[in-house]
Point group: C2
Chain length 353, copies 2
Amino acid sequence: MGLLEKTIHKIKKPNAEMYAAAKERLRNQARPAGSLGILEDVGARLAGIFGTLDVKLKNKVIVTCAGDHGICEEGVSLFPSEVTPQMVYNFVNGGASINVLARHAGAKVMVADIGVAYNFGPELPIFHKKVRKGTSNFAKGPAMSRDEAIQSIEAGIEIVEELVKKEPVHLLGTGDMGIGNTTPSTAIIAVYSGLPVSQLTGRGTGLDDEGLKKKIGAVEKGLSVNKPDAADPVGVLSKVGGFEIGGLAGLVIGAAAYGIPVVCDGFISTAGALIACELAPEARKYLFASHNSVEAGHRFMLKHLELEPLLDLKFRLGEGTGAALAMELMDAATRILIEIRTFEEVAIQDAQK
Amino acid sequence: MGLLEKTIHKIKKPNAEMYAAAKERLRNQARPAGSLGILEDVGARLAGIFGTLDVKLKNKVIVTCAGDHGICEEGVSLFPSEVTPQMVYNFVNGGASINVLARHAGAKVMVADIGVAYNFGPELPIFHKKVRKGTSNFAKGPAMSRDEAIQSIEAGIEIVEELVKKEPVHLLGTGDMGIGNTTPSTAIIAVYSGLPVSQLTGRGTGLDDEGLKKKIGAVEKGLSVNKPDAADPVGVLSKVGGFEIGGLAGLVIGAAAYGIPVVCDGFISTAGALIACELAPEARKYLFASHNSVEAGHRFMLKHLELEPLLDLKFRLGEGTGAALAMELMDAATRILIEIRTFEEVAIQDAQK
């Protein structure tokens, strides 16, 4: 049994009794029932995951997975693939958007090279998990081999293992960097939604109408050339996916196996999460959706995953930026659960005066 | 000239050059233009308000205004008016929802009695600004006199003055407490939207169908008995408003006059903000909408104010809970503006290596 299969077998159901106890406490708080909306369920789910009402999301880590894409040959992105390694350096240097928002959220950022088309020096403080220097052009054949697809998912699992070996992780965020990676993500949701590609395709980092047409054409070609089968998620990843998308799937499976809640960023991270949950449906119990991306296909992914996003700020950046902001709302949810007094607690306090 | 009029005259336009400079910096950051959505404009607006790109929202204060409502006689709320003072004590004791979320946001909470139907001891650490012990039943005549309406708005202004006399305030949040107060708020948006009351009326803290019918009837009666005129905001407040709603309007006007950005909570706080902006249109430049309330009329208020809310978490609690969570996003917006490196800054850094 390989690492992927072993890890999937490790995933346990969250504690249903603690989830129910959390719901009960929320109902008894001195405020109208249900009045704190989505954050009530977030708090209860976290209680189920950690097996306590007093959840503390102390150590937060965002892993930003990077990869390059052969499909860029089809003219699907405004930016050249060279930008992917440049942004990896920008992340390492701390001046990118994700660094800023992670600092704000009190989270660490770690970058993972799963398939960037550039040789990083081994001294660069990132996870070195390169499967290959960029995928093949999936408009002409599979993006990667089946073995490479599994390797990319296992890279994500290994990263979780390496993180938890160092110190406990209480909340994992996922993020992406990879020029062209909205295109494979669009192909993935096309497979799982069955909807027309044109309805699912967005402008990525800012395509014009002609670019959008090219992108739709590339995805349609990729689907017709490769015929991915929704029932075979590793096959979907290998045929029309990306290395960082595999890594992002592995992060979700790894987090679930280690009992760590995982909050996925936008379109690309959710594509990885979708592959993860197709492979390991129980992983969904550990998964939270951070935000609604502007990218057209994203809401269909969230619908498929039956997840309600916490934010809708019209972000379309990736890197983990939405995940970082959602982490603060998840912190708020843990406080709501334990700190807001119940009617009984208020009465006891009044009696003590 | 009274305090209200004097304060309105004090409101200055934010710095348009600094707003433009902020937009320019955001455009030049090493990421796709516009990719951080709504938070980009929040950051730029804050730059305009403070006249600097390096905004620090250090001292955050949430003022929760409380009042009672004669309209409760019509059976418009599930809870009795006695809950209003009980919740004031709960706020002062630190165990209520707003205390928890304000701690999370690093904000102080101050409670203001603008018109609670209860005598608080003078030693209670709240703003003692009671206009009267609850409004009159506006289904039978005006909720308050015109003088009382002005007094309630000036109470909000005085609170801002007292706060800034003690220490600088960099962000003011508004919140409400008052059994029955979604009813006057519904009446106010009915006046300004011209839409049928039935379309604007929500279930408040949890009315059933019969309760909802009573509430709609009470608002309709109030409008037909009092005939509020949209062109006279003080008249609208006096005829179908509430004391805490006046206080909330005064907070917005006061904040704008002192150059302080103000983030309003949900339905009731936005009703106050709406009255404020009708009285002083320039105040809108200092106003931010925290979230989309579940309450039906709220989105029409935001539409009227042309404000885009930062959160949509299905909250329907009030107290300032949405404002508290939005404060963290506003903090994030200030960091985005100043900390994310521009292409030029990235190049300079690379050259220095």
